[in-house]
């Protein structure tokens, strides 16, 4: 499969008063054309910042991509000019955010907000853009499109707003859609509907998708390929079937174990003991070692590299390194 997005050794740091935070730490992966790649991991492990780095939207005066390449269609997004990047944003790559309620401008009508990228990137005139807007609103499954177009964000529910966000994101027919926890803020029935909408659109348009989530149910349903992140690093990646059937990294196993299974009522749901480490206090080690069930001595002092391990899966864990066993 041809790569659409190829990220090499991406590192994004925040410089805070307490010290540097390596939010994304030497991350490499690829997304093929038409492929859906899911990024999973607990809160704070750098998923959103990875997405923001791709969009060139790392915020704040102190956040910066310090190293790496983001090759999109062969072009390095970190090297091209601001203007060129702006023309790619919303056009070739678009993003849906976690919080639909606050992601739309409260004083501009829904219709105008959808029309904006159409008029800017596709150079449609007002009338064409409006017609397309109505189509898009219908496409994401909202009835009475005209009425919706002339309403303001506060008049719509969270699920509807997230569909509007999807409509904006797909309006220019992007090659890559980044969805950063698109359903986390919604209630369960709406979650399923929104995901279904996303999947249908994806099937029709053959775009690639980078889906960020911490819901493994969503992963199982949507993903072709899964990337597991922990404390800013990729600890394991692989095809969705292999990864679910043979999780290698203890963290991945823990995540899968903590996923509730229907028909299997346990006294208490499993959860990985301990907490994500403070990003300010990380030292050379496997960042997961203090929560790991199968921790080796080497895990305390050296960081494992991400290595191929059969079936196209890659894992960064000393358990799968021969040399580690003898140390």
């Amino acid at each position: 499969m041809k790569s659409l997005l190829k990220i090499n050794n991406l590192s994004t740091h925040f410089h805070t008063e307490a010290g540097p935070i390596k939010a994304v730490n030497d991350v490499s992966f690829r997304i093929g054309e038409g492929e859906t790649v899911c990024i999973v991991g607990e809160s704070g492990c750098g998923k959103s910042i990875t997405a923001m780095s791709v969009m060139g939207l790392v915020e704040g005066p102190n956040g910066r991509v310090v190293n790496g390449q983001i090759l999109f269609d062969g072009k390095d997004l970190l090297q091209i000019g601001k203007e060129e990047l702006r023309r790619i944003r919303g056009n070739d790559i678009s993003i849906i955010f976690q919080e639909p309620m606050s992601s739309l401008n409260p004083v501009i009508t829904i219709g105008k907000q959808i029309m904006e990228p159409l008029m800017l990137h596709q150079r449609l005139n007002k009338k064409q853009a409006y017609a397309r807007t109505i189509e898009l609103i219908e496409l994401v499954g909202i009835p009475r499109a005209e009425q919706i177009a002339s309403s303001y964000p506060h008049e719509l529910s969270g699920g509807m707003l997230q569909r509007i966000m999807i409509a904006i994101a797909i309006s220019c027919g992007p090659k890559l859609l980044i969805a950063d926890e698109p359903t986390t803020a919604l209630d369960v029935t709406i979650q399923a509907q929104v995901l279904e909408t996303l999947r249908q659109i994806k099937e029709q348009s053959k775009m690639s998708m980078m889906l960020i989530t911490h819901d493994l149910g969503v992963v199982a349903e949507m993903a072709d390929y899964v990337i597991v992140m922990y404390a800013g690093k990729i600890v394991e990646q692989g095809g969705v079937v292999e990864l679910f059937e043979h999780p290698k990294h203890p963290y991945t196993r823990g995540l899968l174990k903590s996923k509730p299974v229907i028909g299997q009522r346990l006294e208490q749901l499993y959860s990985i003991p301990g907490q994500v480490p403070n990003p300010l206090e990380l030292v050379e080690s496997c960042y997961f070692h203090d929560r790991c069930e199968s921790c080796l001595p080497v895990c305390h002092t050296r960081q494992p590299q991400l290595k191929k391990s059969g079936d196209g899966q890659q894992v960064a864990c000393w358990l799968y390194e021969e040399e580690a066993q003898y140390e």
Binding site: G90, S102, N105
Partner: protein, 317 residues
């Protein structure tokens, strides 16, 4: 909306009634009036004048008369100037209005643009310099800036006239007249803008700083909009909302004149007239003017409210 407006108007009338009582009784309780003040009049003449102008009547009756006349659009008769107050207003208010409207426009324009840019480039050199400039301008008294500018531009450089509204003795009409007035306006307007722009800029800057952190600004960027649209369409619209209410409050200021500025630049505005009337205890004019400002204030507040309700879709009635 309809019932809301009706209720508002009712409140307005009550407030104005209260204000009128306050104004009238305070002025009439102050000892002395124009007639007393005039040394040249004989006691008999004074009594005559009092009778003509109804000053000898009981205070309640005078109040009712005064109010009835105001409802008819008659604010009284200035004894000092021997003209009706309304006529005097007509003569002076538009001069004040001219200064104020131009100054207000530029104040807002600069405040918005500078506020947006400093917020966008927070802590940059530009931002720091602007902030220093603003504090400097805000802490220097207006008479000092005014006199200083007159010294530099009128006395030393002889570029601009030191005061007045038209060149003394000028009979210019049409375009020449407009040019002459513009020439004379430059300094007072500059001083008024300098004095007003600081606090408003800071206001817009802090509003903008809040707004540009919002998620929808990030969305606007993610859509690939130009930075200009992100700032001036998406962010500014939201940052302007709280400021919309200020627009109405500017109304009395537009017609109220500025005592100090008009004095320094010898501008024939209502502020100067007001000062003169004070020294001769021309109470009808003073009361009329105060009432006029009270009416404008109440109307301004109503305008603010209406603007607030129509500009923010979330608070539609």
């Amino acid at each position: 909306m309809r019932t809301y407006l009706l209720r508002r108007c009712l409140y307005m009338i009550m407030i104005l009634l209260g204000a009128s009582m306050l104004i009238f009784f305070l002025y009439s309780l102050t000892p002395g009036d124009y007639v007393d003040n005039n040394m040249n009049l004989s006691e008999q003449r004074k009594a005559e004048l009092r009778e003509i102008h109804g000053l000898d009547r009981p205070i309640i009756e005078r109040y009712i008369n005064w109010m009835a006349n105001i409802f008819k659009g008659d604010f009284g008769y200035s004894l000092a100037q021997q003209r009706s107050v309304i006529d005097l207003f007509q003569d002076y208010i538009w001069n004040s209005f001219l200064l104020a409207v131009v100054a207000t426009f530029f104040t807002w324009f600069f405040a918005v643009v500078i506020g947006v840019l400093t917020a966008y480039k927070q802590y940059s050199l530009f931002d720091t310099l602007v902030m220093i400039g603003i504090f400097a301008a805000m802490s220097i008294p207006s008479f000092f800036i005014g006199l200083f500018l007159i010294k530099v531009f009128a006395v030393d450089l002889k570029l601009l006239p030191p005061g007045g509204m038209i060149t003394t003795g000028s009979r210019a009409v049409g375009w020449e007249y407009i040019k002459d007035v513009l020439h004379h306006m430059l300094l007072p307007v500059a001083v008024m803008v300098m004095l007003g722009v600081g606090s408003l800029t800071r206001y817009f800057r802090s509003n903008m700083l809040d707004v540009i952190k919002q998620d929808y600004v990030r969305t606007a960027r993610a859509k690939g909009l130009k930075e200009r649209s992100v700032l001036f369409r998406h962010a500014l619209k939201n940052a302007m909302l709280p400021a919309i209410t200020l627009v109405g409050f500017e109304l009395p200021g537009l017609f109220g004149g500025s005592i100090i500025i008009e004095k320094i630049f010898n501008w024939p505005g209502i502020g100067q007239l007001y000062m003169q009337s004070f020294t001769v205890r021309d109470y009808p004019l003073l009361m009329g003017f105060t009432m006029f400002i009270a009416i404008l204030t109440v109307i301004g507040t109503l305008i603010s409210d209406i603007l607030y309700h129509t500009s923010d879709p979330r608070v539609r009635l």
